[in-house]
């Protein structure tokens, strides 16, 4: 099984650093995940020098085959291939992944100014759509996570906004 880890358009040093630790990788291995792709963004970590010009690097550690790079124009393909997506708690990524639908663990980025990632993550966790974690408890959350308990995310419904605009225009 395959895991995709993404941190968005900025940097998330602590999450990327922990993704390369034996502790994290062995928790994945225990749950049957043997391949991992990491989108690193501009994070600084032990191998960031190896990908700074847009390269893709591979590495094998704790029985997990790892591929990592900085950015891609679209992550749609990576979401599709993944059996589990681990991500920062950006709202765009959350909407994209839950609508696939794919099981998801989000880690709010505590270094972001005006941090509202936390409130979105915990609210959606309360509703049962995803699992929220911190960098520290991520290996535990992976161990305990059972994707079969996910509450399905409601599909996109464009009629609500269309109705608002129709009201504004005086059509209804």
């Amino acid at each position: 099984m395959h895991v995709f880890l993404t941190i968005g358009s900025t940097r998330f040093d602590s999450l990327i650093a922990s993704a390369f630790t034996e502790l994290f990788l062995s928790s994945l291995r225990k749950k049957g995940y043997s391949t991992l792709v990491i989108q690193c963004g501009n994070s600084a970590f032990e191998f960031s020098g190896d990908i700074q010009n847009g390269e893709t690097q591979t590495l094998s550690r704790a029985g997990v085959e790892i591929e990592f790079w900085k950015f891609k124009p679209s992550l749609q393909e990576d979401y599709e291939k993944a059996d589990l997506v681990i991500s920062h708690a950006g709202s765009g990524t959350i909407l994209d992944v839950l609508r696939m639908p794919k099981p998801m663990i989000v880690v709010p980025n505590p270094t972001l100014l005006d941090n509202h990632q936390e409130e979105l993550a915990s609210t959606l966790e309360e509703m049962g759509h995803l699992k929220a974690a911190t960098v520290e408890n991520l290996p535990n959350v992976i161990n305990e996570y059972d994707p079969s308990n996910i509450v399905p995310f409601p599909p996109f419904d464009g009629s609500r906004f269309a109705r608002i605009i129709d009201e504004v225009m005086g059509f209804i």
């Binding site: 950006g90 509202h116 906004f161 269309a162 059509f171």
Partner: protein
């Protein structure tokens, strides 16, 4: 004499602003137009704001909303790409038109506080040129748009000011619809707080106090 004139100008300006602010008068319902088509302008602010704004635009029937204007920041290639992606899907279905309007950023990340007001003023001038001057002197479309959709970030406030310049002088001004981002569950964003007094329609996607299972009814993206 000059002072009296100055005070009179200020008083009249404040009174004018009071009249044009939403909520200071009874909301008049819009007249049904024939044909039932309209022009929408939408600001694609970057990243998550752009994704949500493009999703909102995808909700609209291109037969009714037959002219679409995407307002993007100079050099924001990602937003440009997302707008064009959506338009390729629309073009497959309908005959309708769209345009891209590129405006200078009001503030770059890490820009110094001294040059920010200058950049914001320049951005406002460009916005005013497109929202006020062009429609006033053009023979084609006499109005910029019927509706302007904003969802942040802070820079969208410049467009809001440009709309209010039109309202101030009694020119045709788009109806401002602000949609707070899906990311804000418990509190408004800075742009939400800024635009709120000026928006003709202010929409949030999460209710403040309600049972968890009721919330999903309000998502727009």
């Amino acid at each position: 004499m000059f002072f009296a004139f100055f005070v009179l100008t200020v008083v009249l300006s404040v009174f004018r602003l009071y009249i044009i602010l939403p909520g200071s008068r009874k909301r008049s319902s819009h007249v049904v137009r024939t044909p039932r088509t309209y022009t929408i302008a939408v600001y694609l602010g970057s990243g998550g704001h752009t994704s949500e704004a493009v999703t909102l635009m995808s909700s609209l029937d291109p037969n009714k909303c037959n002219r679409r204007i995407y307002v993007i920041n100079d050099g924001d290639d990602l937003s440009l790409r997302k707008a064009l992606e959506l338009e390729t899907k629309v073009a497959k279905q309908e005959k309708s038109s769209y345009s891209i309007l590129s405006i200078p950023r009001a503030r770059r990340v890490h820009q110094s506080l001294i040059t920010t007001p200058l950049a914001a003023l320049y951005s406002l001038m460009v916005c005013s040129y497109h929202l006020t001057l062009l429609p006033l002197f053009s023979h084609g479309h006499r109005t910029f748009a019927d509706i302007l959709i904003l969802n942040g970030p802070g820079t969208c406030f410049i467009l809001c000011i440009a709309v209010y310049i039109n309202k101030f002088f009694g020119f045709h001004a788009p109806y401002i619809v602000f949609v707070e981002t899906f990311a804000r569950v418990n509190s408004l964003s800075l742009s939400g707080k800024l635009v709120r007094p000026f928006a003709d329609r202010f929409v949030t996607q999460w209710p403040d106090i309600q049972a968890v299972q009721e919330r999903s009814k309000h998502w727009l993206v």
